[in-house]
Symmetry: C3
């Protein structure tokens, strides 16, 4: 499959081979930029940058990239106030208008899943430049390009993710990509700003990667040596190291050894604009500043990366450290985005071999889309499906994960939910008295064939469709398989 | 008269022949766009988009159009806060500076008449991209282009204007244009959001079009059949159908027949950002949603148009209806604006025959400008002449309509006012005791020669100029012609 | 020294010869613009306009200039809200990212000295488009170009600066430039909005220009003749006329004669957005409007200039006065900025003779940079060094002026401060009991060799570095040289 006309909403939209191809083309773009060679690949084309959230870096590098390709830009830098969204227009309508004025749309939006909605409705390619705390795939491409360019490879690199892993969308996209390319990842979050469970589960289910447990003794010995201030955010349960994609079983790790073997420290900013709970604020007080003293704990003199902007989490003294590559990382945004724009617009063509990416294969196996879902809403209040619903065009949609408990994953924002009731369409066609609904955690989940499964968000939804309560629907929490 | 160097402030600035010429050129532009042919007509030219109100569609399509012509754009997307207007600069000054930085200025402004002020002061062409609730002529050109392209003609089409006809500036420009091109128009406003009297009177006085009365029986029978919710906004007194431009006398119409014969339904959004009165809010509760059920009342399967953005007034289910053309309508903004920019910049030239447009001729006859007006202000609080006056450069200016009562129409926003007092300059030159002022609705209005007429906004204005109260100035409401 | 790669932060960054060269190139650009000749000098280059404050004129003319040179623009018109600054990014970080996306950066920022910080960190040229109330050098270039073009020369012109001379950054840059080019300047400020002492002292110390005193008799006779309202802002102590650069001694001037001989009146707007004190507001009530009546006091029919936007200080009736050149002045912004961009980008090259500019030489003599300064902060609360300090990268830095009292000038915003304590590094190396600190206004200032001078902002700073209080540190105000 070629790239022309496709969207980039999640880093998972591309196979590993496709990502490698983009990185290769970016490398070529970069050497032409360095030679000062002009490119006219996108002459006569317009790119719309539709930004509902602030940006210097991302918008700037996209616009630079389009200019370097000979194309033009139509800029909506303050889309929230300056565009028709101020009049209540839906995302779907906005992009169906904009597709007439631009050949490609770059969207940043505060709602999770917004870019997918835009891509679903626009006939021109849509690039996700950040949708809430969800994904930011072009940043991930820059990160991967930086890793490959500065370290020569991605597979086997030991990367420590440092800082706000909860709201930092860049690290969500990045951790998937690192897992796919076989890097080893150590999560070192600020206290209370851990990598979300959904992301960890996603990696576990899709890439068969299992978080490791830290041996208490090692942690204690480390705590005795390094400054307490810095160690507070480390909590055993969220220290996670994937030694290898192929290693399927949990192992215990040694934290000192982990830090000593780290090739790359990826520091992220606390996304204060996304935090709303009071409790979150306090944890920032004990935020560990990545500075010279702390960096010395990393014995391999790792690369220091940061998606920028930084606030206080990365000391300015590290700017002179030769392996601080965060400004180069920002610079690489231009060739990466040039490659991407040229490919999606069909201005550059690449032959990519049929995917053999383990990640993608696993994803296909891991779940199947299921359609008969009634009255279930995505539990993420910031999901686009919870904002656009009044317009009556955006119906919640889920993929069903394999296994138990019954789990639906929102196709927009990847949040998971466990709907309480199920029924079977087959029994319904049989005897009328069998038209009953059950608790989703009852033994019936295993008995109903997947193709017949009906899922309800509430009893009233089931009853509205003519189903009657079965004895296995009384008290979901108490009806276990063993009780069947 | 050619197009180069002219402004487009009102759709009435162009004769019918000129509008047809613009549509023809847009058609040519469109076919070149479809062939992917590049145009360099405006290479080296800059267009400034000066937007004091939000816009995706209008600004986006203008910028796309300029790029497609090979020109450049200087964008002031948030002019209210990002430009010198934040420092208190007047419109006149802003455009006299901007004309040095751009070859053409596209202005959107919340004050009615603002675009006329800009055009009066700028030496480069000014295009009105919407001035308050007043006019939005390039939208009208898109609408006319859509009608002609989708239906093959404009004359004789039966167009139903649906929704907010009070604050929707697009329908104000459109209704004039439809009247001029001989379309038949049915107004179906939301309750309380009727087409403004000034617009209806303008059409009546300038195009000799008279609103029709609906026969009560037909209305009753219809009310018995269709959903009440939808029928509430219909009120007999504002149902208006002009069967033909030449038909000068009121006729009675049959509402069912009207709906059945409708070729085009033009739905508009409730302009919540322009409504300030509490009473307005309530009517929106009963706002009729144009959906599949309602559309079935229109038997001829009409085109469905909408200037977008929509909020709730147009159901998403109609997106799949083959004659819903609102997204195409938005797309046509590009060739229309290309044609317009190229013409006003003198990059394209067209020979247009001397106007024989009835509308324009009527307009010339209907009023003459009158200068001796003292102390009269435009009654529209949102008129530019009521905002810019403190700067001491913008003097209110009016045209006097023919006939009685004495009526002045604001040259900026087209609002009308009836000043209370008059005098004659001739008598003043005669005997001093004759230097008196009269009520404007006294018999004296008919006796003073138009060239001698002096108009006052108040008695003190008259007295300040040395006039004394006559016996026909005592109580304006009671002094009638018969009393003279 | 060529221009390529340099920054323009202050008008003083250029020698007189360099300024003349820029004006010459602008003249050439202007004549090519008038002939409609295209220029492709900057094809393939991007200019970032990073505006943290509103602008029509400056941003518009920069963008026009870049387009006319064949280059592209990446626009951050609302940088405060739309860029990463909204997330707390420092100026240094922002420009180190942006330098990867643009070949030249144009910055407007509310903090004084912000442009210098940007230039210190960015590897691409930075142009100051206004930093708080500090400088606005490209406006000054436009002003000089206007003077030279409209009057044929600058030297010897008598220029009256009128209006808000306190917060109007344009006049701060302008007065330096006029002094350097040998124009004579009369300051006529609004009451309470005088030219800041720092600026007057700067001119005095660097150009050896001394403010003149007005003879009371002449002032009285003038006060008897002209409208009192207009005369109120004149206050003897800030009437300043420099008859010639070479005249080193104060002379008395005759105000009537000064007005009569004025070649140019430069009117400025009251910068209400920069005034915070309540007291300031009142003075604006008595603000003198420059109108026809007032202009008649200037017998030589002077040019009327204004940096625009105006509010109420310049009457619209003057727009028709043939020597009102403020709109032309705005127009000249395009060729001036074209020349500047082309030079800094190295697209145009000019041979400029080695500087023999008196101003620059004087500046070099007037102070030397001194590094051992501890605990001194810039007294200007709006200085960038008082905003960016929390980020721990921006250390306050000062130049020491020659002479007494001990004076440090902030390298960012040019504010001056008088630190209270000094010590010598030499004595410290000798006997330990001599490691003492002294009041800066004691006789010791003259005894310590400049190369050994250490400066402290407080006693605790001195004590923290091991110095002990000397007897000459007890009470600074009482210890005079004579007391030593």
């Amino acid at each position: 499959m070629g790239f022309a006309g496709r969207d980039l909403i999640s880093i998972n939209d591309f196979t590993n081979e496709e990502i490698e191809a983009v990185l290769d083309l970016a490398e070529e773009m970069n050497s032409r930029l360095e030679k000062g060679e002009g490119m006219e690949l996108c002459k006569g084309k317009d790119m719309a940058t539709l930004f509902y959230e602030p940006s210097t870096r991302t918008r700037g590098s996209f616009e630079r990239a389009m200019h370097k390709l000979g194309g033009e830009v139509i800029s909506f830098a303050e889309a929230k106030t300056s565009s028709s969204a101020a009049k209540g227009e839906t995302i779907a309508d906005t992009v169906r208008v904009l597709e007439n004025y631009a050949d490609i749309i770059v969207l940043r939006h505060p709602w999770e899943g917004a870019a997918k909605v835009a891509a679903d409705y626009a006939q021109v390619p849509v690039i996700n430049a950040g949708d809430g705390a969800h994904e930011h795939p072009t940043q991930t491409l820059c990160d991967l390009y930086t890793l490959r360019r500065e370290k020569g490879k991605i597979k086997g690199l030991r990367v420590c993710l440092w800082g706000d892993l909860k709201y930092g969308r860049t690290v969500h996209s990045l951790i998937y990509a690192l897992a796919r390319f076989g890097a080893e990842v150590l999560c070192a979050p600020v206290q209370g700003l851990d990598m979300p469970e959904a992301v960890l589960k996603g990696i576990r289910s899709e890439y068969n990667c299992v978080p490791c447990k830290v041996k208490p003794d090692d942690l204690n010995s480390m705590m005795g040596e390094v400054d307490v201030i810095y160690i507070t955010p480390f909590k055993p349960y969220n220290l996670a190291l994937w030694p290898d994609l192929n290693a399927g079983s949990p192992t215990e790790i040694n934290i000192r050894e982990a830090l000593e073997k780290t090739d790359v420290v990826y520091v992220t900013r606390v996304q204060t604009e996304r935090r709303t709970k009071v409790g979150d604020t306090e944890s920032v007080e004990s935020y560990p500043i990545m500075n010279g003293q702390l960096l010395r704990e990393f014995k391999k003199k790792p690369l220091v990366m940061h998606p920028l902007p930084r606030v206080n989490e990365l000391a300015y003294e590290l700017d002179k450290y030769p392996r601080s590559v965060y400004f180069r990382q920002a610079a690489y945004g231009v060739p990466i985005r040039m490659a991407l724009i040229a490919l999606l617009l069909g201005a550059s063509e690449l032959e990519v071999p049929q995917s053999r990416c383990i990640g993608s294969l696993l994803r296909k196996i891991a779940y199947e889309r299921y359609k008969e879902v009634f009255g279930v809403r995505c539990p993420n209040p910031n999901c686009v499906s919870n904002h656009e619903r009044e317009s009556r065009y955006l119906v919640p949609e889920f993929k069903m994960l394999k296994g138990e408990p019954l789990t639906l994953r929102c196709v927009y924002c990847d949040y998971e939910t466990h709907p309480p009731y199920i029924a079977s369409s087959e029994w319904h066609e049989g005897k009328l008295e069998n038209k009953r609904y059950y608790s989703s955690d009852s033994f019936m989940l295993g008995r109903i064939k997947p193709k017949n499964l009906i899922i309800f968000g509430s009893e009233s939804e089931a009853q509205a469709r003519g189903f009657k309560r079965s004895q296995y629907a009384t008290s979901p929490k108490k009806v276990r398989r063993g009780g069947g």
